[in-house]
Structure formats: C-alpha cells, structure tokens
Amino acid sequence: MPEAPALGMIVPRSAVVPNEALTMYPSGVRFLMEAVGLETMTPAGYESVMDRIVPAAQALAGRGAQAIALMGTSVSFYKGAAFNESLVCSIRGATGLPSTTMSTAVVKALRAVGAKRVAVATAYNEEVTGRLRGFLTESGFEVLAASGMGLERIGLAGKISPRELQEFVTGVFRTAPASDALLISCGGFRTLQLIAPLERECGVPVISSMPHALWAGVRLLGLTGAAPGFGTLLSKI
C-alpha cells in the first residue's frame, strides 16, 4: 500500500493540523505543517514573516511534502494579486513542487462556483479588508460589500463563536443581497460546519479560507478535493 500523498502547509502561527483538514479528509492524505510565527494580521505583521516563508516551504519539501499551500489569506493578498503570484512562484521555485496560497485558493473556489459579484466578510481591520477588496477586484470580481470584524491579533478569529460568526456573515450578506457568492476570509475562522447552513440561509455558494484552501491544496496532489456535506463546491466530486 503506497503512502498517502502529503500536503505541506505553511501556517501563520500554530503548527497543528487544523481540525478542518482531518474532518474533510480523514484519510488518503497526510498534512505536514511549518509555522512562520505571525503575530498580527497587519501589514507590519505580514512583513515580519516574509523571509520565513520560503525556508518553511523548503523544510516541508525536505519532510516529504508533494505540494505546498501557504495558509493565511491576508499574508498573501495584502500586497495585491501580482505579489500573491510572486509568492507562489518563490515557493514553487524553491521547492520544485506544485504550490498555492490561500488567496489563490479562494479565487479558484469563487471562479469554480461561477461567482462574479461577491459579498465579503472578514476577520480583519478596515485597512486589511480594503486590501482584500482590491485583490478581489484585481482578480476579476465585483465586490458588492466587504466588512471586517476588526481583529488583529492572531488566534482571536478562532475564538469567535459559530453563532456570532454566522450572524456577522449573514449581516454582511444582507447589505449586498445581489451577490452571487459569499466569501468568508480568514483561515483562523472556524467555518467548516457553517458553510452549508449559511448557503441555505443566503441562497448562494459560500467560500471560506481554510476549507477551500485545503480543497485547492489536496487537488494539487491529484485528489478531487470533495468533502460532501460542507457546501456546494466541496460536495462536487
């Protein structure tokens, strides 16, 4: 029996395999983690970890990763689409492995559900949310609404209760009901179990950083990425 393929994940802070990964793909894939020690979701915070990304990718390749995903949406979108692409190129160039970022993953996922006009709910402060708006616009989407929770310290997003998060996200969507998809941005949010209920409530596909970055990552390994029960896109085989 061959060993399951391995996805290497460069994560902002905690090098623990996220629960979402184990819930979505309980078998057939291994997850390897390297943390870069991000402290805050601010441009200064992102700058402070930039030099650690490529070495982390190389460490993952050395440990047997067969594809690399840079997790943490804002760390890759905060300087725009070209910068995001340059991060992917750097990782790919340093490791020789297929690579992606969480920002690329959400764009792919939005395109996969045919989204054109999006409502965006984020964990970030106003400045970082504005940069996400710019990134999505550059990527070809019309952002009808974008609102953030104003969180800066890493770790706080994971402490938001599901009810609070659902209320916040639906509130953002209500300000732009003409949106044809809803994006929840921040890998720290625990959204996996919320995707299907939110889709029922809002009536549009919901794309969320962590689940859909995992989807994009395992697809680089040749898996379908399907995780039925967790919303429109993840239910596709």
Binding site: P5, R92, S99, T104, L220, G222, T224
Partner: protein, 207 residues
C-alpha cells in the same frame, strides 16, 4: 550561428484547468531548457493552439471542470490520430485510467509525481516518437516515407518513378530511405509524377 539548426527536443502543450498546477508544469518544463511549452486552461484554447501549431506532446489533465478529459482525449485523437498524449491523472484512479485508455495514450502520470518521473515519461515519448531531431532530419524521413507510400499506392516500382521523374533509381531510393532530401527540382518532378502539388505532400506530413 552556423548551419546547425538549434532545436528543442519537443513542443509540448499542457491542458490543465488548475492555475497552480498549470503554472507549475509550465515552469518546470521551461526550466528544463529542452522544450517549447504552451499551457492552456480550456480545451477550446488547446484545440485552437493545435490548429495553429501542432505540438509533439500533449500533457492532458483528466479532471477538468467544464469538459472531462476523456472527451478532450477522444476529440484530440480523432482530429490528430498520431498525436502523443500523456495523461495526467489523480492519485486514486490510475489503474482505472490505464484500463480505459491503455490503447489510446502514450503514458500516464499520476499526481503527485516527481520531476524524475516527468522527465522519464517525456524522455520515453521523445524516443518513441523520434522527437528531438533536427527539422531537416524529420523532414527527410517523413518526406521519404510519404513518397514511398505514394509510389506503392500506385503499384509503381522504383524504376517506374525514376522514369516518370527523370531521376535515377538510386536517387529515388535514397530519398525514400530518408538518406537524402530531394532538391527543389527533384521534388517538383516527384510531385508532378503523383499529380499532386508539392504543398499537398508537405501538408500531409505536417510540414
């Protein structure tokens, strides 16, 4: 620059709708400095690219959103039956793919694959399809073969063709074996003997 034509080993077209994987393959192959590489996200773009310039090798991802890879494969091989297609497929379904397509495609690469595996499959394809030779080599061999086929189809001997073209039997023989390229005058005479335009013969061998 001297007379030698500096040539790539093979012209490769990639079809993969996953941006990251497409870029990965394209970069990887370009870095090898041995291949001309074009990458396409959609099957319609690939077909247009093939019409413009037929690649030597197509790397075809089997899992695409809009159109399934097997449909694209079917269309590719119907349009260009001799095309070298290497299928890239997902980790769990390799055996299924082998069973389904073993007669139609040159080889398979299962994701995740290593650079070593990719290099080996391409090396095999280059060898099997006689790629990587100079344009003159390929023209000489294909043209010779084509002339021989046209002669045999008419039930002509070498001497018959030599008479028709006013070339010697040994000249015709050397051209058919791919040892020599015919001169322009000789080629015109050969095409006339077969009642064809030279451009028709060249087009039939994809030159």
């Amino acid at each position: 620059m001297g007379d030698a034509v500096l040539e790539i080993l093979a012209d490769i077209a990639i079809l993969d709708d996953d941006l990251d994987f497409r870029n990965y393959l394209e970069d990887l192959l370009k870095d090898e400095n041995m291949y001309a590489v074009r990458a396409f996200a959609q099957s319609a773009e690939l077909f247009a690219g093939c019409e413009e310039r037929l690649p030597d090798i197509v790397l075809l991802d089997m899992k695409m959103g809009d159109v399934t890879g097997d449909r694209v494969l079917e269309q590719l091989l119907a349009r260009w039956p001799g095309l070298c297609v290497i299928v890239i497929t997902g980790y769990p379904s390799l055996e299924d793919m082998r069973a389904t397509f073993k007669l139609k495609v040159f080889d398979y690469l299962a994701k995740p694959f290593s650079l070593v595996q990719l290099r080996q499959v391409l090396k095999n394809a280059v060898g099997a399809f006689g790629l990587g030779r100079t344009t003159q080599d390929r023209l000489r061999e294909r043209l010779g073969h084509s002339i021989k086929m046209l002669r045999v189809a008419r039930d002509w001997s070498l001497k018959d063709l030599a008479t028709q073209t006013r070339l010697s039997v040994s000249q015709i023989s050397a051209i058919e074996r791919g040892a020599n390229l015919p001169s322009i005058e000789s080629f015109l005479a050969i095409a006339r003997a077969f009642d064809k335009k030279p451009s028709e013969i060249l087009a039939s061998i994809e030159f």
